[in-house]
């Protein structure tokens, strides 16, 4: 097979178009900035037909031109993808082939948007997200990677090759190189890395690791932060002073050193990481138990049934999680131990919780100090509610706005933290395709070959950017009412 070029036959026509539109975009943007310095202030004008006109004259013309140049550029870029989808394989170059591989993701995105837009008025805060352009862009970027992870992780669809298998002769080959072995996908779309593995497939498979771990680890950090932050803010006093001091202590501890300590064999041998995991993972259990107990305490019969069922299941999950072979914590017998988690992932979880929980703690503490002065909290107190009911059912639901926003941002930090951990060779196994590890490997030959680390770096960038934009959109929309 011939190696693929970037745009294939499509480029002959589309590349000049893109050049023109991009140049127009840059020029009009520059013109707008310059004109903006001299333009008169905005005055609103009403037209006879009831419409509104904000500006006119030269400045208005520049603004309009910029708008159209932007639209033209976006249309051209979309044309590369769209043409790639319909043209036969190879004709539309690498861009077209990549677009074709991501086809299921695009279909899923379009379906999701169609459904969400149709019912957006009934979907609460999620529906309101579709009123904010920034939020929609962020949501699209995030969901793109979520769907990529789902399709490649569960259905093995998007990746072209086995991310771990080298193919001889393709070491450090440039994007579009053709694969010599028969019966495989004919090209390495984004080239090969220094172990002759497919960069594209590794990027796609890496998303599974990131999407599976980052939100879950952040969720644990939130559980810990919330379970400690609520009483600190609600009761105040000595408890608050003590917990805040601990939080400050942890925040002041050098994080990277902590990560190294967690994987040092001597430390692992003492069982400290396992004990830390045991302590940290108990928080969600406590949280759920208190949540349900305070809610149903007035109906003891119902409470007991619910607690036994839920805590039984969560307890089993918890024990399976913490009991490991070769560690001091071997609680469950093997036949009951539902699953074993790679010790590296456990380290990731512990570090993420350790780094994030103090900050979440401080946010929750501040919010609960504010909300506890509300009259509905006083009303709960005067009807004799216990403190945990008030904290979990009166205060926490009303603190959810800022917490959801922070959750999105924090998934972004965690994704970067995963990258950082991978970069130092901590946490996940060395051949793991996660983005941080891949970037780290590519770094070594960066001066000669930039194509292996670039795709995972861009993937990390788009996901974190998407999460930040999503958080912005959510914040904007949640402040609106």
């Amino acid at each position: 097979m011939e190696p693929l070029t970037w745009t294939g036959s499509l480029g002959q026509f589309l590349n000049p178009v893109l050049m023109i539109t991009a140049t127009a975009l840059v020029l009009t943007a520059a013109a707008q900035i310059i004109a903006g310095l001299f333009a008169p202030a905005v005055t609103l004008q009403s037209n006879a037909d009831g419409s509104l006109m904000a500006r006119g004259g030269a400045f208005g013309a520049v603004e309009t031109a910029l708008k159209w140049a932007f639209i033209a550029t976006v249309v051209t870029l979309t044309a590369y993808l769209a043409a790639g989808l319909v043209m036969p394989y190879g004709r539309a170059g690498i861009v077209g082939a990549v677009a074709k591989r991501f086809l299921p993701v695009f279909i899923a995105l379009i379906a999701l948007f169609a459904v969400s837009m149709t019912f957006k008025r009934r979907l609460g805060l999620y529906g309101k997200l579709f009123d904010s352009t920034v939020g929609m862009i962020g949501f699209t970027l995030v969901m793109f990677w979520v769907f990529s992870a789902i399709f490649s992780g569960l259905f093995d669809m998007i990746a072209t090759h086995d991310p771990l298998r080298p193919i001889s002769g393709l070491k450090n080959k440039l994007p579009g190189v053709s694969v010599p072995e028969e019966g495989l996908y004919p090209h390495y779309l984004l080239g090969g890395d220094n172990l002759a593995r497919d960069v594209f497939s590794r990027m796609v498979t890496g998303s599974v690791v990131v999407i599976a771990i980052a939100p879950l680890a952040t969720l644990f950090a939130f559980m810990v932060g919330i379970t400690l932050g609520l009483p600190a803010g609600y009761f105040g006093g000595k408890l608050d002073a003590f917990l805040t001091f601990i939080a400050n202590l942890i925040l002041a501890f050098p994080v990277i050193l902590l990560f190294y300590l967690l994987v040092t064999p001597e430390i692992v041998a003492t069982g400290i990481p396992s004990y830390m995991a045991a302590v940290l993972f108990v928080f969600p259990l406590v949280f759920t138990a208190v949540l349900l107990n305070s809610r149903y305490a007035t109906q003891p019969a119902k409470r007991t049934v619910i607690l036994v069922v839920v805590l039984g299941f969560f307890g089993w999950l918890y024990l399976s999680l913490i009991s490991q072979e070769d560690t001091p914590l071997r609680i469950l017998p093997a036949w009951l131990d539902g699953f074993d988690v790679n010790s590296g992932i456990l380290v990731v979880f512990v570090s993420v919780v350790f780094v994030n929980a103090p900050t979440v703690f401080r946010i929750v503490r501040g919010l609960s100090m504010d909300i506890k002065t509300r009259d509905y909290v006083a009303a709960a107190q005067t009807r004799g509610e216990g403190p945990w009911y008030i904290m979990l059912w009166e205060i926490l639901p009303n603190a959810r706005g800022p917490l959801i926003v922070d959750f999105c941002l924090r998934i972004g930090y965690t994704t970067i933290l995963l990258g950082t951990l991978g970069f130092f060779g901590l946490g996940l196994p060395p051949e793991s395709p996660d983005w941080g590890s891949t970037i780290n490997e590519g770094r070594k030959l960066l001066l000669i070959y930039i194509h292996p680390p670039l795709p995972p770096a861009l993937a990390l960038l788009t996901l974190v950017l998407g999460l930040n934009l999503l958080a912005d959109g959510l914040r904007e929309e949640s402040l609106r009412d």
Binding site: A379, Q381, T382
Partner: protein, 695 residues
């Protein structure tokens, strides 16, 4: 803008203002006209959401990005404001037109001294030197009657009290001697006695400087006290305008009439002449009815005529620029007597169920004792002694900081008393915190809160919140039973049953307050502490909620402890009144006794301070000096001696040395005062009504 300009200061013609959202245009003000002559003051009255503040913002040309004037004109001294350039506007604002907002703290920059904020006004607008500006600031601060202007100018806003801050805001507005002063609810955040002083100040200054005023308020009494002309607004439209005398005594619009019937004026009483609430709800700006906006709530509504099309303002012949937006104003008999609601027999108070004996609550604010700070004691409640009977309404009156909220907390068991005793049904509960009280005791004493927007948990449905109270009080055996009981409670507070599944944000303020009442009565409470339950509501809703409380009380023989600073509503619904000042009970007696002489000097000042929307009423003006002292550092002797206007009538320095004893005068009226008996006997009523005294 010449100094010799004699035409109207402000002319608003057919002004329409809309706000634009992504979905649609929402008209906020429609077809609004007003004229203010030099030295005149115009009152703009209406309920929240009626567009009165939007008019003010329209005059300031400060409508934000979404708001826009869609029709009509605003002329200031003959100059059109709607098409004015931003530079010209900037020169006008602050110099020619000044505005005073509701929250004084929000109008002052907390990081600058008061002096720096004041002197920059004339420095920017008139370009005068810093020295001259400082001299003028001193003069203006003295004008707003603040003591020690030099010290005040060096102070930061947070070092001043709310009343002092509002005076500084007024001083700032007056620094450049504006021609027009816009006051947007300037006293709503202040206490009654402080409000009275600020209102008098505004009126005096207006006269002194000849400033025209646009006074925005929801309080008809305040407008009567301060303005020459009035403009009543309803749902974005002016419904009636004219001189104070014409509108107050010869109203020509059903809404104005309904408004007056909904406020407790002297003479109204819950048994003989109950208030008449306006039925229905305020229409949302995007769901206004066709034709007359007030139509659906109007007693005189005539289908086919009132809802046919837009209704113009119509001039009433004979009166001075008196206009009404009512098609039928000629057909309505405005002097017809109020159709009497069913007279309810007064419920006889039963046995004593709650007794307070010498209750004291001190807080220890330990200001860092570990590092040599001084431990200070806040005496929030000092020797409260009173009892409450079954089925009676006991009003607890006092301004902020008088200790009424602390008392409520102690009664509810959220705090325990420092000393003294509370007995409920002969059982002492003063030392029992709420977690140790029996479910029955907790259900017996419940509370209705002040702020309707804060009283319900925003993330739980209305029904769920009531059911939760039922669960806690162990009422009902199953979920279904509790749900039925919850629906019954919604019926009790006259809310539709469909509200059970709504979220609180979908309810109006009055509806939320009703849910709060339903929740308080969930466990058949026998004592309900109502902490200013209607003060945050609109006038037309106040009456309905107050009547609802009374109604449930009468049906269930509840004891109502009604905490309020509003003496009008207290007179209307209380059986007995307890006046508190700085933690002390200063007067206690039946409503009749408290509202007629002899008074405690503080009660006398309170009565004089309450604005009354009735032109027939004449009041003796008693304006208190200064502010309420801090409970951390109460004055020696009588708590009221620092502000008491009758202190000179007591011989020697008795007031400063000794706390007066609680004296029982005729018929059980108790007053804590050193005044000699002959002074009490010589007291005259504060409020006189067309010759005969009513209070």
């Amino acid at each position: 803008m010449t100094e010799t300009y004699t035409g109207p200061i402000l002319e608003i013609d057919n002004l329409s203002i809309s706000f634009f959202t992504r979905l649609r245009e929402i008209p906020a003000v429609m077809d609004f006209s007003a004229t203010i002559m030099p030295g005149d003051s115009l009152g703009l009255v209406g309920e929240s959401g009626c567009g009165k503040s939007t008019v003010a913002l329209g005059v300031m040309q400060d409508l934000g990005v979404n708001g826009r004037i869609v029709g009509g004109s605003i002329r200031f001294k003959g100059e059109e404001l709607t098409t004015m350039s931003p530079d010209r506007l900037r020169a006008l604002r602050g110099r020619e037109i000044a505005m005073i907002y509701q929250e004084p703290m929000a109008s002052l920059n907390p990081a600058m001294t008061v002096g720096a904020q004041l002197i920059e006004v004339p420095m920017i607008h008139e370009g005068i030197s810093k020295g001259d500006a400082y001299a003028r600031a001193l003069e203006t601060v003295a004008d707003v009657k603040l003591p020690d202007p030099k010290r005040i100018l060096k102070a930061y806003p947070h070092q001043l009290s709310g009343g002092q801050q509002q005076r500084i805001v007024i001083a700032m507005a007056l620094m450049s001697k504006p021609s027009l002063l816009i006051l947007d609810e300037p006293t709503t955040a202040l206490d009654v006695t402080v409000e009275a002083a600020v209102v008098q100040l505004v009126r005096d200054l207006g006269r002194k400087y000849g400033t025209s005023m646009l006074f925005i308020s929801h309080n008809l009494g305040l407008v009567l006290d301060t303005c020459d002309r009035i403009n009543v607004m309803y749902s974005g439209e002016a419904v009636e305008r004219g001189s104070i005398a014409d509108v107050f005594d010869d109203m020509q619009h059903p809404y104005t009439q309904a408004l007056f019937r909904a406020i407790p004026l002297p003479g109204a009483s819950k048994t003989t002449r109950p208030l008449k609430a306006i039925p229905g709800n305020f229409p949302l700006p995007d769901a206004r009815p066709k034709g007359c906006n007030f139509g659906p709530r109007c007693d005189y509504f005539e289908a086919g005529r009132c809802d046919a099309g837009p209704i113009p303002m119509q001039r009433i012949t004979g009166d001075d620029r008196h206009l009404t937006r009512c098609i039928k104003f000629n057909a309505i008999d405005w002097n017809a007597p109020v159709t009497k609601a069913i007279e309810t027999a007064p419920t006889a108070p039963g046995k004593v169920i709650l007794r307070m004996e010498d209750l004291k609550k001190y807080y220890d604010t330990r200001g860092n004792t570990a590092f040599g700070g001084v431990s200070q004691v806040v005496k929030a409640n000092e020797s409260l002694t009173f009892d409450a009977r079954e089925a009676e309404t006991l009003a607890i009156v006092g301004e902020s900081g008088c200790g009424k909220s602390t008392f409520a907390k102690v009664l509810m068991g959220l705090e325990t008393a420092t000393s003294g005793n509370i007995t409920l049904d002969e059982k002492s509960i003063s030392d029992v915190p709420i977690e140790n009280r029996t479910t029955q005791t907790v259900a017996d004493i419940q509370m209705v809160f002040q702020n309707p927007f804060d009283t319900l948990n925003p993330s739980m449905t209305v029904g769920r919140q009531i059911i939760r109270a039922l669960e806690v009080f162990r009422i009902g055996k199953s979920d279904g039973e509790r749900r039925r009981r919850m629906l019954d409670l919604l019926d009790l507070v006259k809310l539709p049953r469909t509200f059970a599944d709504r979220m609180p944000r979908q309810l109006s303020g009055g509806q939320k307050q009703r849910v709060g009442i339903a929740r308080a009565f969930a466990g058949d409470a026998r004592i309900v502490v109502a902490d200013e339950p209607v003060s945050a509501l609109d006038v037309s809703v106040q009456a309905a909620v107050a009547d609802l409380l009374m109604d449930i009380q009468a049906r269930q023989n509840t004891t109502l402890l009604f905490i309020s600073h509003d003496l009008s509503i207290v007179r209307y619904l209380a059986d007995r009144v307890l006046v508190m000042y700085l933690g002390h009970v200063v007067e206690l007696g039946t409503t009749e006794q408290v509202f007629s002489p002899p008074y405690h000097p503080y009660t006398e000042a309170l009565l004089s301070a309450v604005p009354i929307a009735d032109t027939r009423v004449t009041k003796r003006r008693i304006v208190l000096k200064g502010e309420i002292p801090s409970a951390m550092n109460p004055p020696p002797g009588c708590p009221f001696q620092t502000r008491c206007p009758r202190k000179h009538q007591v011989a020697g320095d008795l007031c400063e040395r000794e706390l007066p004893p609680m004296r029982t005068l005729s018929d059980g009226l108790q007053i804590k005062c050193h005044l000699p008996d002959e002074e009490f006997a010589a007291m005259e009523p504060v409020i006189q009504m067309a010759g005969n005294s009513v209070a």
